[in-house]
């Protein structure tokens, strides 16, 4: 790895945004700001911001702990407390972090929640997670249930169910914790801002259709989704981030450049790959380097859609605030059934002219992983492209076997090469 990592303006902007957010969180007790813990997929950021509440996303804290090599200790702490080895390591990392003082990713103490907003999309485990946190914090929980898109489409009944819960349950709970009535005009402003940022993000995703691709839509992509899937969607700073990111992408397209990586610019793009599943966070840079060294660029990924599939046309619509929030929650990637997920990936392979498909099957995440081998078979059949299947974990370092993964991937790249030469 290079000692000096290249930083672009968008990266600097994001770092500043995150730093300021965690600083604000650390001072929540003094400032009297109320704190809402909630999840990333299908989050209600605009609604939270409309009440001037501060959001905290436990899975983001867990992944940050993973990248900072802290998660292993946190997980073991949770297991010492009686949590099973078999379950989601995001949950155990979060519980372990709490038990060890609740120090957040920037080294500052996280405030306890004033409300647990259990808005869970596409993941049953989230429900258990907040039941567990409720016992730890003893604060109120408000539940927003988001039905599963079992038929690959949003039904009127599902939309009405979610919208009604927002009006009847979630808003009153947010009003109570914040002490404010909902200002619907403010909510609409936030939603309109979200839509503008979403336009720019879609532009960034679609830039990967260029050859060479100016972005890495997986390893780089997880940075791109940071602001829009967390505490910033709806804010001017979020719009500014995506404007800047788009400008940088335009620059790289104009100059025939590849994406910025920790190893520098990826110039030689030998293979274009679509990726399904979350990344491994504990060995994130090592994982990325395996692909970088082989000249692999990720042109599309599904993990970066857990908080919304904007490139399929969805935009937050200020004219219909509750219905649009309902559709957003219902439309996230893991809330779609497996046939729909296969369709999405097949379309990526075609539109982004990919050479292959990689599945990173995550021990912790059955929401993503259960059935992935079947998806891979279907995709190989439909696209004629070769697939690779590796297994790792989100934040448990015990389940990342670098040598095994490298061996498998090297064999896979050899297969891609053989296919190319045979073509």
């Amino acid at each position: 790895m290079n000692a000096e990592v290249q930083k672009e303006e968008s990266m600097v902007l994001q770092k500043k945004m995150i730093g300021e957010h965690f600083e604000t969180l650390s001072k929540a007790g003094e400032s009297g700001r109320k704190v809402v813990y909630t999840f990333v997929p299908g989050n209600l950021n605009e609604l939270i911001l409309a009440f001037d509440l501060l959001p905290v996303h436990p899975e983001v804290n867990a992944l940050q702990s993973g990248m900072r090599k802290l998660s292993g200790d946190y997980i073991q702490e949770a297991e010492k407390q009686g949590h099973s080895e078999d379950v989601c390591t995001y949950v155990k990392c979060d519980i372990g972090m709490l038990k060890k003082g609740n120090i957040g990713p920037t080294g500052e103490k996280l405030p306890p929640p004033d409300l647990l907003l259990l808005s869970y999309t596409g993941c049953f485990t989230f429900m258990k997670w907040f039941e567990l946190l409720k016992q730890e914090y003893g604060c109120p929980v408000v539940m927003l249930q988001v039905p599963y898109q079992a038929e690959g489409k949003i039904t009127a009944s599902q939309r009405e169910f979610v919208a009604r819960q927002l009006r009847d349950v979630v808003v009153p709970a947010l009003e109570q914790v914040s002490g404010k009535k909902l200002d619907e005009d403010r909510l609409k402003e936030l939603l309109a801002s979200s839509a503008r940022a979403e336009d720019d993000l879609v532009y960034v995703w679609e830039s990967a259709k260029h050859k060479p691709s100016p972005i890495d839509a997986y390893f780089g992509g997880v940075y791109y989704i940071g602001p829009i899937f967390t505490a910033f969607r709806g804010l001017p700073s979020c719009e500014a981030y995506y404007r800047e990111l788009r400008r940088e992408v335009d620059y790289r397209i104009a100059h025939g450049m590849g994406p910025t990586t920790p190893e520098g610019e990826l110039r030689q793009q030998k293979y274009r790959i679509v990726v399904e599943g979350p990344p491994n966070w504990t060995s994130f840079r090592d994982f990325w380097k395996i692909f970088h060294d082989e000249g692999v660029v990720m042109v599309a990924s599904t993990y970066t859609k857990v908080g919304g599939l904007y490139e399929q046309g969805f935009r937050h619509d200020p004219a219909r605030p509750f219905e649009t929030l309902a559709e957003y929650c219902l439309g996230c990637y893991t809330n779609r059934n497996l046939p729909a997920r296969v369709d999405i990936i097949a379309k990526y392979v075609e539109e982004y002219e990919a050479d292959g498909i990689l599945f990173n099957s995550i021990k912790s995440c059955n929401s993503f992983s259960a059935g992935q081998l079947m998806m891979l078979r279907e995709l190989e059949k439909r696209t004629g492209k070769a697939g690779a299947f590796i297994e790792s974990d989100l934040v448990d370092p015990r389940y990342f076997s670098a040598a095994n993964i490298k061996n498998r991937l090297e064999s896979y790249f050899q297969m891609l090469e053989a296919k190319r030469q045979a073509a």
Partner: protein, 386 residues
Amino acid sequence: MGTQDIIDRCERIYRDLDFGYVHEWKARTGGKAVGFMPVYVPRELIHAAGILPVGIMGGGDDVEIIRGDAYFQSYICHIPRSTVELGLAGKLDVLDGMLFPAICDVIRNLSGMWQMMFAHKYVRYLDFPQTFNDAGREFYRAEMAELLVDLEALSGIQATPERLNASIALYNANRRALAELYDLRSAEPQRVPTSELYLLLRAGNVLEVSEHTAMLQQYLAAARVSQRPLRDNVRVVASGLFCEQPPLSMVRAMENSGCYIVDDDWVLGARYQLHDTATGANPLGAIVDAYMSDTVATATRYVEGDDKGAFLVEQVRSRHAEGVIFAAASFCDPALLDRPMGQKALADAGIPYTAFTYSENTGQVQVIKEQAGTFADSIKLWGAVA
């Protein structure tokens, strides 16, 4: 008929992965059959549409997984592998459709796999509300109404209010007979060995409901007069086994370890609601009401308020149990994530517990027997925890 004859028949049904009874029932009645995964589906709706509901609980320890493993990653429970194995081997061809209730992410995704693998069959995912308010009620009512339309189309039989009421009455009778069986086991555990109760429950996954109820009543009559000695066993509740089922050998090992299991949560779909469903002018509404306000607080159901674990503590108290055995299928997210909360509630109440994991094809049950036996001994020696 004595208890042994009944249990022998139940064991034949349990071991019959070709679903001979379902074939025979379809041939006899000309009806359709629809499978459902654990934990809960409203079987009354299926029955009222003239369809035999068939509970599918994986392949147990009698199925060698050959193709099923090629569909799943390493770190996942066993039930989807063996269910896929059964499907690919044609064992489930007798079913005209499959229902996948909202239990966890694995079963959820299995519904999508089924849609792809058996595209010519009826497949439906059933989303159950976790919000127990008016919005949840309306959503659930709409889900059930849609399901009913599908089932009627499948069978060609309209589930009229009369038919729905008749089915509700049959399932109420079945629930009452099961409750009687559980009460008898709790009162006189020597008369109802848990392995027998378990097989009786499993038979209810397959048999037409009235036939199952009659079987339960025959068993109850025979069990009440059976002569079996009361042993100096410890009374325990088994918790966490609601989806992937333990092998029969493990059930026997648990009760041969010095434990009388006096309550449990296996084959939970049959006992998911606590009381009768009302009959009357609005039977669909009554089914919805029963789910919304009269069901057990299991790990697959969100528990509002501050009473997490209260249901388990109450089970222990009402059954005069002395401890809890948490047994969960490996990689079972709902059971394993729920376990620390259950343990906390028990610790607060001064109730001892032990915990282990299994899979449906666990072969080495000696370790489990020893652990359960040690737990029983510790209760005998020291009683409740401080």
